[in-house]
């Protein structure tokens, strides 16, 4: 749920990175954080376990620039990917404006990808959202790994409706900003649509 503040002339939107455990959601945010001009970003918060697995969420506030005199700010969140953290995932999806589904390209993680996508659809549904109606971008991460699955097969399984999608290697940054831009663009277009 976006927040338009006429007093400070700001628009705030919430984007959530979703996906199975260890697919690279936090790595996406870390890359964005490291490559963004310090004036445009806030502090990145990671609520993680001792082994650096996300426990509750990562959070990165990001300013993108101005539209018609309004500063646009995006709050990027990740969810914990591990199956048993479902209660936390539901909380973080509250008020979401756009979703990035990060898929792990490794063949042996395909079932986990499908399970996580079903979980996303269900958790969005519980809050009155529909995956097909919200701005969503699919990222096929870890394309550099030798055991990466065939891209067309991944598209068939995870993106049959043809949402915007990108190949990525998050630690090197490939596809990271392309994904972010696509989801941000989608969110802003949705806001425009809602304003009509």
């Amino acid at each position: 749920m976006s927040f338009i503040n006429y007093s400070s002339r700001e628009i705030n939107c919430k984007i959530v990175y979703y996906g199975p455990g260890l697919c690279g959601k936090t790595t996406n945010l870390q890359y964005i954080y490291n490559k963004t001009n310090p004036d445009l970003k806030g502090k990145m918060i990671s609520l993680a376990t001792e082994t650096e697995r996300t426990l509750f969420f990562d959070f990165l506030p990001l300013a993108l620039g101005q539209i018609r005199g309004f500063k646009t700010r995006f709050h990027l969140y990740t969810v914990p990917g591990q199956v048993f953290y479902d209660a936390s995932r539901k909380l973080i999806l509250k008020g979401v404006d756009g979703v990035v589904f990060v898929a792990d390209s490794q063949v042996e993680r395909m079932e986990a990808n499908i399970e996580s996508l079903d979980n996303l659809r269900q958790n969005l549904g519980e809050q009155g959202y529909e995956l097909d109606k919200i701005s969503c971008v699919v990222q096929y991460n870890k394309r550099d790994l030798p055991n990466a699955a065939d891209l067309n097969e991944m598209k068939r399984l995870l993106n049959p409706k043809g949402m915007p999608d990108f190949e990525a290697c998050a630690p090197q940054g490939k596809g990271v900003f392309e994904t972010l831009k696509a989801v941000a663009r989608g969110v802003l277009r949705d806001l425009k649509q809602m304003s009509r």
Binding site: S7, G42, F56, I67, R68, G95
Partner: protein
């Protein structure tokens, strides 16, 4: 359909600011913050300028969300009041009208009893302001928002730099 978009105009903001500034004085607080349940900072007052308010807002919302989840597990609808005691500073967090979070930071110059008392009054005032904002959003939804007239080009320009 998801929550109504929150649109806040200058007059609403001034009302919120007036309530928070009064609360700082009445409760002898160091700082007062008003946060949307989804983690967006709406307003602040007090002597704590310069702290990372964006993170404060996001973490407060996370805290309220997590304890809300706990409440449901034990059969409560919500735990609307939280108190965190520190060595120097304390946090008093209240969920108002199920949607807005009021955060008061205070130290030894105040007391939990005083903060509780003043938050009750300020919370009721804030609830009324947000009820008005909600009504406006429902009726005039979208009219006059900066998005009504933006073009695809405006959006693309954001990413051209």
């Amino acid at each position: 359909m998801h929550d109504t978009q929150l649109v806040m105009y200058d007059e609403d903001f001034r009302k919120i600011l007036a309530v928070t500034q009064r609360l700082v004085k009445d409760a002898n607080a160091k700082g007062v913050f008003v946060v949307d349940r989804n983690g967006q900072l709406i307003g602040e007052a007090g002597e704590m300028r310069g702290i990372d308010t964006t993170s404060l807002a996001s973490l407060t919302a996370g805290c309220i969300a997590a304890t809300g989840g706990l409440a449901k597990i034990v059969g409560e609808e919500e735990f609307p009041v939280h108190f965190h005691q520190g060595a120097r500073d304390n946090l008093h967090i209240t969920l108002i009208a199920g949607r807005i979070i009021l955060v008061v930071v205070f130290d030894e110059r105040s007391s939990l009893g005083l903060v509780r008392l003043r938050v009750k009054k300020a919370g009721a005032q804030l609830a009324r302001v947000f009820e008005e904002i909600q009504k406006k959003s429902e009726h005039g939804h979208g009219a006059g928002t900066p998005f009504a007239e933006i073009t695809d080009e405006d959006i693309d320009n954001l990413f051209s730099v």
